[in-house]
Amino acid sequence: MNKYCKLCASNVTQRWFECRMLASRALRLVGKRAISTSVCLRGGHGVAKVEDYTLPAYFDRRENPLPDIRYVQNLSPVQASLKEKEKGAWAALSADEKIALYRISFHQSFAEMNQESAEWKSVVAGIFFLMGLTGLLVLWQRKYVYGPVPHTLDPEYKQKELQRMLDMRMNPVEGFSANWDYENKQWKK
């Protein structure tokens, strides 16, 4: 017998009643979590699996003070009764009960989540170690990988370069040739 399933918006066979049942049962199982995928039975093939990462998650972040879900999802009987009491007047709650309610909803307080750690020491140590390793690698590379430098870096060639720079009077006011004493042919003291 064909029935029109309003949930699936399609014609399904005898399963239309089961479709409705499954949807409400699934909603009750998952509790207060939001259903992001539609629960629908199509021709008896099964429900699309709801992945963990698609559901709202809890995380302690300073920028996101009120996460989408409570921290504790499965309440113990004590916690459940406390939640019932929370529905009444809050002045009737003791300080311990208020803290217990806070711990149900949140994992770490702001003070706890913003705590400084000693992680920076490990980070700096890692940086120095890797820089040392890189230095060793560079030294090895300079010895075994690179070929000889150009002839223009020989000492005699550099001497001739220096003399030419002085002859040209390069930067005679404040720079290079300003430090050379042309009368006595030496660097100025």
């Binding site: 300080a95 208020k98 002859d167 040209m168 009077r169 005679p172 006011v173 404040e174 300003a178 042309y182």
Partner: protein, 76 residues
């Protein structure tokens, strides 16, 4: 459990009122320091250099050193 209510408003204004005068002051100090530490000595150095500068003498010295392409040293 009764903490005083924290400051909720005017946080940016307070920060700006504190930091902006300091920023302007420091920039001004930096500019003045650069002017009297760098540009004035530089201007003086150039003025002193050119006070006693004989262009022809320098040219002849350079010519003898052989750095020009259009003029050869007097020996050749």
């Amino acid at each position: 459990m009764s903490l005083p209510k924290p400051l909720m408003r005017g946080l940016l204004g307070k920060r700006l009122r504190f930091h902006l005068p300091i920023a302007f002051g420091l920039s001004l100090v930096a500019a003045i320091a650069f002017k009297y530490g760098v540009t004035e000595p530089r201007k003086k150095a150039y003025a002193d250099f050119y006070k006693q500068y004989d262009a022809v003498k320098e040219f002849n010295a350079m010519k003898e050193a052989g750095v020009f392409e259009s003029v050869q040293p007097s020996g050749e």
